[in-house]
Amino acid sequence: MININAITKEYIMGDNKLLALNEVDVSIKEGEFVSIMGSSGSGKSTLMNIIGCLDVPTSGDYFFRNKNISNYNSNMLAELRNKDIGFIFQNFNLLPRLNALENVTLPLLYSGKNIKERTKLSMEALENVGLKDRTHHKPNQLSGGQQQRVSIARAIAGNPKLILADEPTGALDSYTSLEIMKILNDLNSNGITIILVTHEKDIAQYGSRIIKMKDGKIIEDKKNVSN
């Protein structure tokens, strides 16, 4: 599903060049649950942003579902994010003025689905994360776990092939974290590829494959046997 060949990402900060990714190669197959671990500054977030088409590499090729998207323009990337990729963020990133249902509907708005279809898909997504009775609550009326579940519903509403979760439990207590990881696990068993970025060992253990990064390079990539 994902083939990354010699991808490099450079940031220029004043006079210094910062090499966030240094010729990284990685492939991820459909249906995998990959945890990417590493300390801050290791390049794990940069890698995830490039996989999620939020950022473009300085050099190297990125094949997403056998298409070389290295030369896609911003509109094509936006469409890809809209149709094939769902994001889950550490800080949920819900729009504060919209209620849960409207937040979940947002990606469907951009894909131009009609209101009937939109509402149906969003309600299904909210039902999947167990928030059917919170559809008209604003984010600030929901607990952290509930907010993260809304953002998961937003990520899955458009039936994406790939979900990228960037420290999804970083802002949650351990009990709620467990709930969230269980949902991700369920999504994975339904065939959705999941890439999880975390620095917590026990959260990373949910993955079937763990990639460790350091200084912009992959230093370890192995199957997770404990799972």
């Binding site: 509109n75 003025r97 947002l106």
Partner: protein, 408 residues
């Protein structure tokens, strides 16, 4: 993303900050209300001028006698009747630009008819008086040739006189007593309505000869008259003819070019021009206010939209991460600024209507609401919104998704 969804999202974010939205649109509010007021004043002035022409006839000059400063003693405006029918004939003969002259003698006197009593202004004149003054007949007829020549006691009355003497009954063929002299009513004039200074319909017209013989023999002896209405054949000749009349009259009355004349020429066009000029000045003033406030309002919108874009950078990043294209972001912010300026437009229209109502009520200025001005206001304010909203919207749309998402 459909337009309805865009509008829905835009109104959500505008409503989350109503005070800011309204304050932002203040410049537009003032601009639009000025535009509407300006156009209404202009249209009102035009309408008033048209109505005045309708009332008094166009291209008319009024020549009337005036007391000359006789050995330093002003004799008062009614004390001397310096104009004569000879003057009238001379003017007619000497100035080909004059198409008609209606002479006039007048008095205010008691009218009795039908057991009722009324004080009215009685005018002695010719049939030209009706044509030049734009008088229309509701009923009856003008004077006939033999009535004019023989000094018949016939009268044509205005609406106010009819109302006070006969109520709603027809006055035709009834007898009225003017200064105790019986006259037969032969015509009833259409109503003209009042002006600020007189009720034009409170009038009675009798043939000039009849008036001079039976009503004002002492006041206007010989061929003396009070005034004449002079009609000029075209409006271009109006001001030139006014000067020519002055020249001819000075010659007839043997008054030097810089001496005090014993007559005065009134030009309605002058009055109308002054009226138009003052409304034009007012319009220019308002146009300036409108222009400045629309530009300042536009800059205000741009300023607030730039702040909004910065404030919502992260939100823009979120929208982009779930698939918003540049175009979606651009449109969303454009529609927000458009909505701010349209809110301003609507409130401005409301304020403008209030000003128009207030001014016409308290200052008795005629204001005419032009529906084109409402359309114009909408076009104005929405184009301001789009023009000044474009830069902030483009700034939002050109954000890099990951930079926007990381923005704190």
């Amino acid at each position: 993303m459909s337009l309805i969804d865009l509008i829905y999202l835009s109104q959500k974010s505008l409503r989350s900050n109503i005070l800011r939205s309204v304050l932002t649109s203040l410049g537009i509010i003032i601009g639009v209300s000025s535009v509407i007021t300006m156009i209404s004043i202009g249209a009102g002035a035009r309408l008033e001028v048209e109505q005045q022409i309708e009332r008094f006839g166009s291209n008319n000059l009024i020549l009337r006698s005036q007391s000359s400063n006789n050995r330093g003693v002003s004799m008062g405006s009614n004390s001397v009747n310096s104009l004569t029918l000879k003057d009238m004939e001379a003017l007619k003969n000497e100035l080909p630009a004059i198409s008609a002259i209606a002479p006039r003698v007048s008095l205010s006197t008691q009218i009795i008819a039908n057991g009722n009593n009324w004080l009215a202004t009685v005018t002695g004149s010719t049939n030209d008086y009706f044509a030049l003054g734009n008088w229309k007949f509701e009923n009856g007829r003008k004077f006939q040739e033999d009535e004019i020549n023989s000094g018949s006691r016939v009268a044509i009355i205005g609406k106010t006189v009819q109302k006070n003497l006969f109520g709603t009954d027809s006055p035709i063929d009834e007898v009225i007593r003017i200064n105790k002299v019986p006259f037969t009513v032969i015509g009833l004039l259409d109503a003209k309505g009042g002006t600020a200074w007189a009720d034009l319909d409170d009038t009675i017209i009798v043939p000039l000869k009849t008036a001079k013989q039976r009503l004002v023999a002492k006041k206007f002896p010989g061929d003396q008259i009070r005034s004449m209405t002079i009609n000029v054949s075209s409006s271009e000749l109006l001001f030139k003819t006014e000067k020519d009349i002055d020249t001819v009259m000075r010659k007839l009355h043997k008054i030097s070019a810089n001496g005090n004349p014993d007559f005065v020429i009134r030009n309605y066009a002058q009055f109308l021009n002054a009226r138009q000029e003052s409304s034009r000045v007012m319009s220019i003033l308002l146009a300036t206010v409108a222009g400045i406030s629309l530009i300042v309002g536009g800059i205000g919108i741009m300023n607030i939209m730039l702040v909004t874009v910065t404030e919502r950078t992260k939100e823009i990043g979120v929208c982009m991460s779930v698939g918003a294209k540049k175009r979606d972001v651009l449109l969303q912010f454009l529609i927000e600024s458009l909505m701010i300026s349209l809110i301003g437009g609507c409130l401005g229209i409301a304020l403008g209507l209030g000003v128009i109502f207030g001014v016409s009520e308290y200052f008795n200025w005629k204001m005419s609401l032009d529906y084109m001005s409402l359309v114009l206001s909408f076009v104005f304010s929405s184009s301001i919104g789009v023009i000044f909203g474009f830069y902030p919207a483009r700034k939002a749309a050109s954000l890099n998704p990951i930079d926007a998402l990381r923005y704190e």
